[in-house]
Symmetry: C2
Subunit: 457 residues, 2 copies
């Protein structure tokens, strides 16, 4: 089925928008669809619109592109609403991070065990949570049959929040879903590799790993016993050129040894404080830059992200073709979003890794918690299977992360100072009540947080 209306909320994020347009253009069964680009930033929206129009023309794809700064207009009667919107931008969170650090909270009060990823804003994500919930409410009101694809982080918290608080048909999506491929590549596996990653977003584990129908974990173990030492050496050598490629860092292997499953996707960037105490610790585990989420690594990520964006922005008004730009980097491999849209819109029943309320699918996790699972996706939506995790992973890696989500949602939904206080009082970076009170006061007193100051009073 074609002629779908797809709304992209937060289309001013040029790099992500470009990927969407590229993937849609590449998807035969979605031709005839209309993409409505929406952003509150008119300038960026207009840039993205011109880029999309040019690309669609260039590759002669049958995708209509529209744009609006009216969110409801974008959402009205849409079949799919993709939310990539980030409130406040990176600078806002960097400011809060830097205030936190003045009070002894390295990488910010938001960075905690199993959530060290720098742009995964939970306890201080008030504006981001509010925005995502408003968008979901608009979907309820203006496109009740639409699928809401939650791409903006924190996917775990926001998918859970929207699933609990609204009737919107929400699916959280994250590109980490494909990250098992790097493990297969490391082992030199050719041909079909089957992989199932299960957990919650950014805390997912390789539960099934098969090559040619056979369990590939023994191959991994064998590879480790033979090659690990050499691998680590070359990892550290490469870490200066590839500071963001931490997925096969010593942390991944340490987690595998300690929890019994190989970690896949962004969980490798997190774990406990063991890997994160300070820059020196991060450097020993992740290499030269201290990994993706150290002060250096994160700045490098933001710099690279801006570089890609600037390249695209300049390309829009140049004469050179866009295709080479959009097909570079990842080899033009599709992001997870368009394949999921395709599988729903065309009732394909493909298996994708999605984030949805658990509803009994994953043992040991509450029904109303968004889990990340491989599931069949068709016109009726996500067909959950039955999943389980080893106790070790469940108890030591998943449950602590779920608890953090609950406190972040409590803070957002119920307000008051206590959730912030209790978040911090048990933090290993905390030495005193005064430190806790101090950092809360300092964070709430910046002008950007005047609404938070009332909410958390």
């Amino acid at each position: 089925m074609t002629n779908r209306k797809i709304a992209l909320i937060g289309a001013g994020s040029i790099a992500w928008g470009a990927t969407l347009i590229r993937d849609l253009s590449d998807t035969q069964d979605l031709k005839g669809s209309t993409v409505v680009l929406m952003d509150v930033n008119q300038e960026r929206l207009s840039l993205m619109y011109r880029l999309a129009k040019r690309y669609v023309q260039e590759v002669k794809s049958d995708i209509r592109v529209e744009h609006t700064s009216d969110r409801r207009e974008a959402i009205r009667d849409a079949d799919f609403v993709i939310n990539t919107a980030m409130h406040g931008g990176h600078q806002y969170y960097e400011k809060m991070r830097s205030i936190s650090e003045e009070y002894g909270y390295y990488r910010g009060i938001n960075s905690v065990e199993w959530n060290m990823v720098s742009d995964y804003h939970t306890i201080w994500g008030y504006h981001q949570f509010k925005l995502a919930l408003e968008i979901a409410r608009d979907v309820e009101d203006w496109a009740p049959n639409a699928w809401l694809l939650q791409v903006a982080n924190p996917v775990f918290e926001l998918t859970t929040l929207i699933g609990r608080e609204t009737k919107a048909k929400v699916i959280g999506l994250c590109s980490e879903a494909y990250s098992y491929k790097s493990v297969a590549k490391m082992l030199g596996l050719e041909g079909e590799v089957q992989a199932k990653m299960i957990g919650v977003n950014h805390d997912a584990w390789l539960v099934e790993f098969k090559h040619g129908g056979e369990d590939a974990y023994p191959l991994l173990d064998d590879w480790i016993s033979k090659n690990y030492q050499r691998h680590v050496e070359s990892y550290f050598q490469r870490s200066r050129e590839e500071p963001l490629n931490v997925y096969l860092s010593p942390v991944a292997f340490d987690m595998y040894r300690n929890y019994g499953l190989f970690p896949v996707g962004d969980v490798v960037r997190s774990g406990t404080w063991k890997y994160h105490w300070d820059f020196g610790t991060k450097r020993r585990w992740y290499g030269e830059y201290g990994g993706f989420d150290s002060e250096l690594g994160w700045m490098e990520y933001l710099r690279r992200h801006e570089e890609v964006t600037n390249l695209l922005v300049r390309a829009v008004d140049s004469q050179s073709p866009l295709s080479p730009l959009l097909r570079g980097g990842g080899g033009g491999e599709k992001d997870v979003v368009v394949p999921v849209i395709d599988s729903i819109a065309n009732d394909k029943g493909e298996v994708h890794t999605v984030n949805v309320l658990n509803l009994g699918a994953l043992q040991g996790v509450g029904d109303d918690v968004a889990v990340e699972i491989p599931a069949k996706v068709d016109a009726k939506g996500v067909h959950r299977g039955s999943y389980s995790l080893p106790k070790r992973v469940l108890n030591l890696a998943i449950r602590p992360r779920v608890q953090r989500m609950e406190v972040a949602l409590e803070a957002f939904l119920e307000g008051g100072r206590q959730p912030l206080f209790d978040w911090l009082i048990s933090d290993p970076r905390t030495d005193s009540v005064r430190q806790v009170e101090g950092v809360i006061d300092a964070l709430l007193s910046i002008p950007e947080n005047s609404e938070l100051a009332k909410h958390f009073r």
Copy 2:
């Protein structure tokens, strides 16, 4: 119905055994019952036996008393098995506490947020967990129809463990169930007071508080606004004479203000690090001795406990009557255990505060977690109702405690070093990985822990 067989495992705990014998003697509908005292310590067992025999004679109660050091003999065909057994005794845990403190873990690695109670041994409770599980297995094998009343701490962990791992019909019981009475007394309420406390053991909250059928919370608020200042002054004045009576300490009122329900029972001894950083902090919140669980308060508790025991021991071989001794102190008010036995044995259907697997009773808590709830108890067992807690209490006070239980059970059931490591790496008293490794090594290297050293390897 009478002629019940009641097995008391851990009968060498004289003070507790004496209370049981007293309460049974006072319960008309349990006359004709046989109590089988069991302990591995022959000397204490024999003392307890003589004490029980003398008391039963003295008050002419129709209770038969037997004793054995064979646990299975005690349990075989029992109707009720009461487990009060504590492995290793206080000294063993004090030794681990003192080793912990050498590594910077004030009050021991076992003392953590929402579990600061000094004899509530979770992460280092290996032997205690093992013993309780063995007793439950004996009940499965030798008295499959018996009710297993779990009185030995940690009631929360052990009731959950036994409920999950065995078929024994387990009910956890804790005397904190009656502690709402001190609130009623403080307010000067006369006549019938209805109270419901809900949560998990040692983390339970006054969900319903009625006087003469009307909500008594407004009376409490009114009392606080008028009398709190004076109350605090007199609390601190009394704290030197009553160091263990912390239930109406400033902590209770601070918790009420911050979480929205009045804390009842031993939760007042816990909460977050806010009240527990160091002795000075404990002293500011709990008074002169720093409360029940400071280094001073806890020694005072152990001293008083020993004093009571010694008094009883001396009384056994004296000519003076035992009744005044057993009816002193708490005014002879019954402990919760015998009334629960009475309600089951005689199908009375009374409402008691019990700990049982949740099975959907308390919203927001997993089915297989032991909750503390008021429920009708009769010959068929515990009839769970439907309960809920305000989100604030659930998310900030109950969930973190449940998470600790899960890690403690993981440590016990699955072993390996990682549960201990992960328990400590996120502890606010932790400053480095070296500190974590150091304290684990030190604890596992004492002779008493040779079995643990293997288990946690």
